[in-house]
Symmetry: C2
Subunit: 342 residues, 2 copies
């Protein structure tokens, strides 16, 4: 039971930290068991939680042995330095950054997909996958179990909040400078994301690697292989679009064994955390934003080559199931599992 | 030489008609040889072209024998009824609608790709492919010539102008009702496109077919097969995004023969109408809008399976090369070819 534990949130002022607080508040998690931790810069600030103001503590002097679990909702640098310190102090770390994801000693967990890794793990550190990987492996898992997913082609439509508060501000600033639909009249000389995002799309998320893929695209490839199977071939194009919350993905895949549409439909309907849309078209603004559901629809066969090919569409809030909610699920399952073993 | 001909523009008040006028004006096409034609509703209106006001004539009574060529930039219903009347009057018809595209007797032409169809064609009617098909076949053609394209997976990011003036107004209205980045405060109760498009994406363009594909997606499949080869397998997901002009596409493909990246790069660089971007990232707002170029970049090999798989990104103005400019190219090549034969 998470509710009986003392927990720290590192990076509480960020977007993922704030969503984590919303979810904890909705669960009536007691403020007395909650500690807020951040860099020296934010230390001393007051953050409201339920009806109380809690003071943010400096991570450099924070005693992680006083909490049972720490959510790291900060960047890779913070995770790299402080997660091992916390773990050595006996604290369980659930890290949202990419730093530990590909570490063979660290479980990379989406509870519905590979939650079994949470039982009896020798690791004190657990990694939350990338926000575009999580809904993808959720959708692939039931199909993989039925017919072995061989090859996945995925194109993403990722929200600006995936680029942090900076991304949200970029879109907001640019939209406010909108004058009319004559695109030449919109003042956008210094785009915060490097390129304009309002009335545009950016087919580059994170840095390029020598292969021509971006780091974001290779996260989807590498993490999906670690979570589902090293045999799966994943080819991604990751694109930023002018949406606030909710990453969407157009997925085209091939299975090793033939797969009936009816069987695929039933498996997706039965999978926890997925809302299967039959006639409805799931979209980020109308469906995904502010809830933990993976919305999946438009399941269909390849128009000319039907036995092994399926295509579908999904959308999922990158801050909820794509980050904070998945982290919280890991914590809950870990403590439930520990309680059962006790 | 198009410039020596009398031409009519049917549907001159629409977006494609207006872009056609811009291009003709830039070429100094003489107003004296230009006739504007529309439905009874628009007949009698004055439309400015260069320094003159031309009166729109009623299509129902228009004598197509008085012009050498008619651009049909109207819908399928107008094309269905009036294109055969114009053709029977001896007028060449270049039609932007989907009505004649899959008619085996009508050439479906992207001049750079299959311009040879314009020589000695018995047809008086020529069809312009769908705005998302045109840049796709432009990019596929040089690769197909090198190594035979076997299979294409494509996800699109299509501008609102692809939905007509209604699409542009939908985005404009919704953006104007934007209050702040709290998405719950934006008033969007009756979206003109059926679903919100501002801060959203819509994975449905045109109607659904029983297969689960949309008509837009099957246009890409069927037209690519007609233009390039009936053997090519094309699987598309077509998505509307909040961009004014410029359709973009994430393309993942397999070739029958192995294909070196360097050879693919050279072939794309050499292909007329394509601007190959090496380090630059082509985007609709910054690159595609208001010019006839197919901007192609992010060419790369599959991360795990490199010999036969290539991926790339393209963006292209749906009103220019995707419609008006391609129509004008057809006209110019037709008359050049006729002049050579005379």
């Amino acid at each position: 039971m998470l509710i009986s534990k003392n927990i720290a949130i590192v990076g509480v002022t960020g977007q993922v930290g704030q969503v984590l607080l919303k979810i904890l508040a909705a669960k009536n998690f007691p403020a007395s068991q909650l500690r807020f931790v951040a860099s020296e810069r934010s230390a001393g600030k007051q953050i409201h939680y339920q009806n109380q103001a809690l003071t943010v503590e400096d991570i450099a002097s924070f005693d992680f042995s006083k909490v049972d679990l720490a959510f790291f909702a900060a960047g890779s640098e913070v995770a790299k330095h402080y997660a091992p310190i916390a773990a050595n102090a006996g604290c369980i770390v659930i890290d949202k950054s990419s730093y530990f994801r590909m570490d063979p000693a660290v479980p990379l967990v989406v509870p519905e997909v590979n939650g079994y890794l949470l039982k009896n793990s020798p690791s004190k550190i657990f990694a939350v996958p990338n926000c575009s990987t999580i809904p993808l492996v959720m959708a692939l898992k039931p199909l993989h179990d039925l017919a072995i997913v061989e090859r996945v082609e995925v194109a993403t439509y990722q929200a600006v909040s995936g680029a942090g508060i900076k991304g949200v501000q970029a879109l907001e600033d640019e939209i406010k400078s909108f004058k009319n639909s004559d695109i030449t009249e919109y003042d956008n000389k210094v785009p915060k994301l490097g390129f304009p995002i309002a009335f545009n799309i950016i087919p580059k998320i994170d840095d390029f690697l020598p292969s021509g893929y971006t780091k974001e695209e290779m996260k989807m490839t590498d993490e999906t292989k670690k979570i589902l199977s090293p045999e799966i071939l994943v080819n991604a194009t990751a694109v930023r679009v002018s949406v606030w919350q909710g990453h969407s993905e157009a997925v085209h895949l091939r299975t090793v064994k033939p797969l009936e549409l009816a069987a695929a439909t039933q498996a997706l309907k039965d999978f926890p955390g997925i809302q299967f849309c039959e006639a409805e078209i799931p979209m980020p603004f109308t469906h995904a934003a502010n809830n933990p559901i993976v919305w999946l629809g438009r399941l269909r066969r390849h128009p000319q080559d039907s036995a092994h090919y399926l295509s579908f569409w999904l959308t999922c809030d990158n801050l909820y199931k794509g980050a904070a909610y998945n982290a919280l699920q890991i914590a809950e399952k870990l403590f439930d599992s520990l309680a059962k073993n006790a």
